[in-house]
């Protein structure tokens, strides 16, 4: 099955950058030549062994890959059902999966002779990863971050500054992640010659969704091999949290053609998926639209104006989702669910207490869904969830939510 191109879920996107009806290149003319150039350069790098050799070397010696696949024994016991594994991407240098992708894009930027890197960030993890790799290579780095996120993710703001990046608090629109992305795009339109836009998730115009997915796919590739080694078979269910969807796409992609593997994406349900839109569940509570260069599911009002999401987790607080997820959702290859802030906080606490791992709030959403389904599943059912980030950055938010004075 996996080698049969005509029955594969892994052949996308098409030459127009579409996954089914989703994706595409909805950008202004000024940017169009730039993304065509990027596409050509990426196509070139993709088949260049020296590109991947450099990636592999840095993944190993700088990021610390492969990340372990860990059997969460006490959690499994506590839940009393399925056997739970965690893919430990929170152990990466800089504390999340984001650096997997940043390395790829920065190496590409260097090949293209770009000297100035810009990025948007929500939780600050992508910003920190970008600032880190820019420091390593001596590149100028400017990070756009919503003014609201600058406040709630203060430790990451300081980290970026230590790493030599300029952090620009974004006040346009409502000052959130989507506005940070708008301002990054505005910067790019203005500084077309020397600047490379390093997008932090599987969104944006083609080729970003495919390129970021390819770089993050190291997660699923490793998980597959490690699971074969540990269990002699593939997992029954794989689960990941979704903001824009990059850690999820990274885990899911290598499994797409393994039809017996159930795939579940977990969106941020905020205060609950309701009419008041106090959530960030684009697939569960949105409809297709066009934003940030691609067609995908979006939170929007009836006039097509984009709505602000709401989530306790800054990294999930985005009104869209990568176009490949929208497609996987429509064709039914993956299932998408929503987890509320309260459920995520419970999972956060349980993970600290039972496993000695302080998870980021983002993967806490994935874990909360594991907690929901594992007890009802048989003991020989194997779940692999993506522990895509560690919680250091979130302790202030969690303390506040739990009514704890710091």
């Amino acid at each position: 099955m996996a080698n049969d191109l005509f029955n594969s879920f892994m052949t996308g996107p098409d030459e127009k950058g579409r996954f089914g009806d989703f994706g595409g290149r909805f950008v202004s003319e000024t940017l169009m030549p730039l993304i065509l150039e990027l596409e050509a350069e990426y196509e070139n790098a993709k088949t260049d062994q020296s590109f991947w050799d450099e990636m592999d070397f840095l993944w190993k010696h700088y990021v610390g890959r492969p990340s372990p696949l860990y059997h969460a024994e006490r959690l499994t016991e506590h839940l009393g059902g399925a056997k739970v594994y965690m893919k430990r991407d929170e152990l990466n240098h800089t504390g999340a999966h984001k650096i997997n992708n940043v390395l790829g894009q920065i190496i590409l930027a260097r090949r293209m002779g770009k000297t100035r890197i810009i990025a948007e960030t929500g939780a600050g993890q992508h910003g920190v990863a970008t600032a880190t790799v820019c420091a390593k290579f001596g590149l100028k780095c400017v990070v756009y971050m919503g003014a609201h996120d600058v406040e709630r993710q203060a430790p990451n703001v300081f980290r970026m500054k230590l790493l030599g990046a300029e952090v620009v608090p974004v006040t346009s629109g409502r000052g959130t992640l989507k506005d940070a992305m708008n301002d990054a795009l505005r910067d790019w339109v203005t500084n077309v010659r020397d600047t490379f836009y390093c997008i932090g998730t599987v969104a944006g115009p083609h080729p970003y969704p495919a390129m970021v997915r390819d770089f993050q796919s190291i997660i699923g590739k490793e998980a597959k091999e490690q699971m074969m080694e540990a269990e002699g078979r593939l997992p029954d269910t794989i689960i990941a949290a979704i903001g824009g969807g990059s850690n999820a796409m990274g885990l899911f992609f290598p499994f797409l053609d393994d039809k017996d593997v159930q795939i579940i994406g977990v969106e941020a349900g905020g205060k609950g998926v309701n009419e008041k839109m106090e959530h960030c569940a684009s697939l569960t509570g949105g409809r297709p639209g066009v934003l940030h260069g691609n067609r995908t599911y979006l939170l929007q009002d009836e006039d097509g104006q984009i709505l602000e999401g709401f989530s306790i987790s800054a990294g999930l607080d985005y009104p869209g989702i990568g176009p490949e997820h929208s497609w996987l959702h429509e064709i039914g290859r993956a299932e998408y669910v929503a987890i509320t802030d309260a459920e995520a906080l419970e999972a956060f606490k349980l993970c600290c207490e039972l496993e000695g791992i302080i998870p980021a709030l983002e993967p806490s959403h994935a874990l909360a869904h594991v907690m929901k389904i594992a007890p009802k599943l048989p003991k020989d059912h194997i779940i692999c969830m993506n522990m895509c980030g560690r919680g250091d950055k979130d302790i202030f938010t969690v303390a506040k939510a739990l009514g704890f004075e710091m």
Partner: protein, 287 residues
């Protein structure tokens, strides 16, 4: 759940070319013909529909032709105007807060047309509100309201099947932006399915940014005119009657947006806004 079939159907209308018979003739063509007969350059003014509120915005719009405006660009507000600077971003926010919707922007045109059957109107904005309404429904409404052209910032030629081709089949011009990054290799693609006029963006950047320089613009306009018979007008970064004149001199016309929107933002009375516009229009018409 497992469809087990080819997932990617070939894209619709693969060539994406526009038949010559589908290229619409609108009030825009009439207006350029008239200007040419008079030996005049075009002055194009942009305002955001519904900024700061429906009534004020409509009053300004109705006054534009007498202030010397040859073509009106009417902005459709959007929450995420990726190609716009702070001035037009804030105009969109004011309009949305004032309750502006795509329907109300269409209503403005219907109202305007009751008193002015000839001034061309180009609607300018982003694709999502149109996509959300449904392209076919939007085009039918736009034709009924009396709209002549569309400028949709986030629809490059690569996405022509979304709206560009259907719009022209419905009789509405689809006007494209050409930019300093549109090199000679790409230019034919940008010009291919366009009509009405070509809008040359004088800078790489967002609206309301750096001052346009006629000396930089002139060779670019010549480069585009060598490849098309359509009029080429220039916008972005024109703020004064002097620049308006200098730019119009080297092109077929000049567009001013942010500078006019700033006057509206300052809360000036409609008459003052219109006399500011007249200054800019006179500049372009002196060219």
């Amino acid at each position: 759940m497992w469809p087990g079939r080819l997932i990617f159907p070939p894209a619709l209308g693969t060539s994406g070319g526009l038949d010559e018979k589908d290229r619409p003739m609108t009030r825009i063509d009439d207006r350029f013909a008239k200007l040419k007969a008079e030996g005049k350059k075009a002055f194009v003014a942009y305002i955001m529909g519904g900024d700061p509120d429906y009534d004020t915005s409509l009053a300004v719009m109705k006054g534009l032709p007498d202030a010397g405006v040859d073509i009106i660009e009417l902005g459709m507000p959007f929450t995420d105007p990726m190609a716009d600077g702070p001035t037009i971003q804030l105009a969109g926010q004011r309009a949305l807060e004032g309750g502006q919707t795509l329907q109300k922007t269409l209503d403005m045109v219907t109202e305007f047309r009751k008193g002015d059957p000839t001034t061309p109107i180009v609607m300018m904005g982003y694709f999502n509100p149109i996509y959300s309404r449904g392209v076919d429904r939007f085009l039918a409404d736009a034709v009924n309201a009396g709209i002549d052209g569309l400028i949709i910032v986030d629809l490059p030629p690569e996405e022509d099947e979304e709206l560009c081709i259907p719009a022209q089949k419905a009789g509405i011009n689809f006007i494209r932006l050409a930019t300093p990054t549109t090199d000679d290799k790409r230019l034919p693609k940008v010009l291919q399915n366009t009509s009405g006029f070509v809008y040359y963006v004088s800078i790489t950047g967002i609206t309301g940014a750096a001052e346009a320089q006629a000396a930089d613009v002139a060779p670019e306009v010549a480069r585009i005119k060598a490849k098309t018979d359509l009029p080429v007008i220039v916008g972005f970064g024109i703020k004064t009657p002097e620049t308006s004149e200098a730019i119009a001199r080297v092109a077929d016309g000049a567009v001013v947006g942010s500078a006019i929107v700033s006057e509206i933002a300052a809360g000036k009375p409609v008459s003052e806004i219109l006399s500011f516009v007249k200054g800019l229009a006179d500049g372009a018409h002196r060219a």
